[in-house]
Symmetry: C2
Subunit: 252 residues, 2 copies
């Protein structure tokens, strides 16, 4: 299984601390990593078919504080699909003049929907196939970028289809919001004033966010497993969709 | 104006020497840079709205030998469009299960074709608009990835349309070949056995390729201006399309 990390904030925020936590889990997830940072409509997209422990790209991401309001990261342990660059999450497509980023934790059995639209997988993972199908169905459901609420309603109808074929913990963002859907393992956490300290669950590293933030900052993190040992992560119910905008959870 | 660099090779090759040459021109091209490396169907895509002289991403690209058989790089001096991440070349879209990468040097006046297909610009450059139009027209002309010769024939029909609106030196690749179209400034150079030494035109740096290559290696470079002072770069005629596969020029 793979590990997911998502971040949504009301002010551009770096994810160096959380990505360090994710990277400590990379020993058993050596089949690639990827991270995508939105800056308004623009996107930085880094992937590697080396693991996060030895990839020069991952090393750069951990050294330089790239600030973003929507981030999706993934470390991979291959279940379906070869260990190649084109099979590395997150995947990116353009629709309605916006980039869309998708990452998946889990394994789908026999999900082979008909892809008759403008989106085709480049690699051979179940994950990219599910993403292309989602984009195709979104493109049919709306004529241009819908509101966050309208898009959430469409996703609530669509997500059970692939989820019926296995484990479908996913993160999706278009730079305006972060959509998170859990079937077996997904947790979210909001950090806001008063900020405290946090300690990584898997590494001897802690940070005092009070020194790094302003009282109006809002940051929400989503991860397959809680990344810190001393904060109140909330588990998703099976099949739950949560939507985050400006660091706050909004109605799905 | 911007600077372009393309590379096409029959064996995965790094572009550190040539990218160093391009980066020395970055003082006057401080409005961003980008580089895309194909590895078979997979793609690494690095962009930054900082110039190549101060970008940590450019620094990483210059330190790590990423080997690829098709590379497109661009350093930007903004003429149209703001200096934002979404306006940084090269641009990427997916069509027929392949990634397509495009970069443009020049300026188009009043090129506003109708975009009724599946490709929309995310940013506000004339370049991305022209790329989306090209992808839309390719999608109409073929049902799936055509042969290199068929695609070249379609491009030869399409490229004069945007080129009629200004300067349209462009590089396009889908990982199978590199298409290069020049209207005012584009040069190509093949390196093959017997390999010799080369000296960068803009920096006090030279390299002896004989020590780094095997007799069967073929590498073609394309650049707006010759990058080296002691090799026989061939200028494109106005409106000329050249196609490179496996490091060799093939019939366009």
């Amino acid at each position: 299984m793979c590990q997911l990390l998502g971040m949504n904030a009301n002010t551009p925020t770096d994810v160096m601390f959380s990505f360090a936590g994710l990277a400590t889990r990379a020993d058993e997830h050596k089949d690639g990593f990827g991270i995508a940072f939105f800056e308004d409509r623009g996107l930085r997209h880094f992937i590697d078919n080396q693991g996060a422990r030895c990839s020069p790209v991952a090393e750069m991401v951990q050294r330089y504080p790239i600030r973003s309001d929507n981030v999706i990261a993934h470390i991979r342990k291959a279940t379906q699909g070869r260990v190649t660059l084109e099979n590395s999450h997150p995947f990116v497509r353009e629709l309605w003049g916006r980039y869309w980023v998708f990452a998946h934790n889990g394994d789908l059995k026999d999900f082979a929907p008909r892809l008759h639209g403008a989106f085709r997988p480049v690699g051979d993972t179940d994950s990219e196939r599910a993403f292309c199908w989602l984009m195709q169905e979104l493109a049919k459901a709306h004529a241009s970028v819908p509101s966050i609420g309208e898009l959430s309603a469409t996703l609530r109808e669509l997500l059970p289809r692939p989820a019926a074929h296995g484990t479908f913990n996913v993160l999706l963002s278009n730079g305006q919001a972060l959509w998170a859907h859990g079937t077996t393992a997904l947790h979210s956490l909001q950090r806001r004033h008063p900020f405290g300290a946090a300690t990584l669950a898997d590494a001897d590293l802690s940070v005092d966010f009070a020194a790094l933030t302003t009282p109006r900052d809002r940051v929400t993190l989503v991860a397959t497993e809680p990344l810190t040992s001393d904060e109140a992560w909330e588990a998703f119910a099976p099949g739950e969709l949560r939507v985050f905008r400006g660091g706050e959870r909004v109605a799905a």
